[in-house]
């Protein structure tokens, strides 16, 4: 009998009503905080801190409070996007009408086609499966490769996805525009060019140049792209930052 029943007999009607604490008996914030232990206690402490910090910041702020302070997703962003997207749907239908899709012959497990290709958006991934020339050989194994070529490709996928995921945790700070961060823009351009060269590697049969050259270019071009980007942005940065800073300082002169 947990529901406040006093008699020890089993009852079929659910017993007398369960005790619900009246409003004035509901524990207050501080009571709850005192009662809690361990992680819950820490949570209460942190919440209080962050609320106090929030209030302090608001009190200090000289800004006029407005209802919406960010660039709101609704309606600004959404409305602007709706105009562009309706145009976009039109384009999809138009392209579908003038470029109907290709349809090949039925699957035949018995005959490998001379060209195996996924859709274009997976070319880069397909290119990663053709990295055997850089698969490290081991002298002790008599030059045998340590990893299967396909496994090497899988590892390469893992590295790429991990690198992309880590970006926000490596690049901190408040810079936003490419000119403000030449290094990271160069990394980005390297990645974009690499995805194209890997795609070219995947469809190597269609390139009239030798495989060795193509392979070299696959890694040389991205590096080149990165270096050029870095140089250009670094050069642009001086003039650009001068303008931007002057603007900022006119509005909020440094103390």
């Amino acid at each position: 009998m947990t529901d406040g029943g006093t008699d020890g007999e089993a009852r079929t009607d659910g017993g007398p009503p369960a005790t619900v604490p009246p409003d004035d008996e509901t524990p207050t914030w501080s009571e709850r905080k005192e009662r809690s232990q361990g992680l819950a206690q820490l949570t209460y402490q942190y919440f209080e801190r962050s609320r106090r910090e929030d209030e302090d910041l608001r009190a200090e702020s000289t800004y006029v409070e407005r209802d919406v302070l960010g660039f709101p997703a609704w309606p600004h962003e959404t409305l602007r996007n709706l105009a562009i997207t309706s145009f976009f749907i039109g384009i999809i239908v138009l392209v579908a009408a003038v470029l109907p899709v290709h349809f090949g012959s039925p699957a035949n497990p018995g005959s490998t086609p001379s060209v195996i290709l996924p859709d274009w958006y997976l070319y880069w991934s397909f290119g990663l499966l053709k990295l055997n020339p850089i698969n490290p050989g081991l002298e002790v194994l008599g030059g045998n490769i340590l990893l299967g070529n396909e496994f090497l490709g899988i590892i390469a996928h893992g590295i790429i996805f991990a690198a992309i995921t880590l970006v926000p945790f490596l690049n901190k700070g408040s810079a936003r525009r490419p000119v403000e961060q030449p290094f990271w823009s160069a990394v980005g351009v390297t990645g974009v060019v690499l995805s194209f060269t890997l795609a070219a590697l995947a469809i190597q049969n269609f390139f009239p140049i030798g495989l060795d050259l193509l392979f070299t270019l696959t890694f040389l071009l991205p590096a080149l792209g990165g270096i050029i980007t870095y140089a250009v942005l670094k050069t642009m940065r001086e003039g650009y930052m001068y303008d931007l800073n002057r603007r900022y300082y006119m509005l909020r002169p440094p103390k």
Partner: protein, 269 residues
């Protein structure tokens, strides 16, 4: 004194006293009808409170702080790429649902190796017999291409505008998951017609899975239904493509956009 019910809760009398247009009357009547049964007013209030909380706590944006909003940021058109992904996704979802009426995920029917299977035949049927079937398939395919392209470009936009920085790291990581799922969405769809290229693309998928140590064989069985391709592979790709991925991707997109809603769009400095 009349015997009629007459208190301030008599909403109908209140409605009559009001001078309302037809639209307003219908709206209010529906609202009152629903509210009497479901007490939706409580929830509306909750929603409204949430809306204001979410928006009120936005930090002051850089543009406002430095009064830069008169300066046209010429990257802005690229900020619609995320929405374009969603729109293309919706188009693909609608046309895909229609294609589903005619498609059959079966490798049956091939007398000899290389003969058309039921799956292949159902696509031939769609393209030759079904009214607007060819167009439907074209739109589905192209919407998928556009979505993938838009997602790639959206990621580049986010990268080059530095929009992934604090506090938006979570959305970036969510985005990486989304792009992987989008690619897998495309891959699983590519297999469905069971044409030569479908088959051999799937073959490479199986080989990649099998080349992975420890979990490889397990993964091959889970995703491709075995070590050699066949009926099991096709059905798995089908269920992934039309059941599992749609729910997962739609849910994650909702979460992704929900977070954007709460955080606001990152503005360039």
């Amino acid at each position: 004194m009349s015997l009629k019910k007459q208190d301030e809760m008599d909403h109908n009398a209140w409605l009559k006293k009001q001078d309302l247009t037809a639209v307003e009357t219908v709206f209010l009547t529906t609202l009152i009808w629903l509210d009497k049964r479901l007490r939706i007013v409580d929830y509306l209030e909750l929603l409204e409170t949430m809306y204001y909380r979410a928006n009120l706590q936005m930090p002051k944006s850089h543009t406002e702080q430095y009064d830069l909003d008169n300066k046209f940021w010429y990257w802005y058109p690229l900020y619609s790429l995320g929405s374009l992904s969603i729109i293309a996704y919706l188009v693909a979802a609608i046309t895909g649902a229609l294609l589903g009426f005619y498609y059959s995920p079966s490798t049956a029917g091939a007398a000899a190796q290389g003969d058309p299977t039921a799956a292949y035949d159902s696509l031939v049927l769609i393209m030759t017999d079904v009214q607007f079937g060819f167009m439907l398939r074209s739109i589905h395919k192209w919407a998928a291409q556009f979505m993938t392209a838009a997602v790639f470009l959206h990621m580049l936009r986010v990268y080059f505008t530095g929009s992934y920085k604090e506090p938006r790291e979570v959305n970036w990581v969510l985005g990486v998951v989304l792009i992987a799922l989008t690619l897998f969405f495309g891959f699983s769809g590519y297999v469905l017609p069971w044409k030569q290229l479908s088959f051999w693309a799937a073959q490479i998928g199986v080989e990649m899975a099998l080349a992975t140590p420890i979990i490889g064989e397990w993964a091959a069985q889970l995703v491709f239904g075995g070590f050699t391709l066949g009926q099991a592979t096709l059905v798995r790709m089908y269920i992934l493509h039309v059941f599992v991925l749609p729910f997962v991707v739609t849910g994650l997109i909702a979460l992704h956009v929900g977070i954007v809603w709460v955080q606001g769009i990152a503005e360039p400095h």
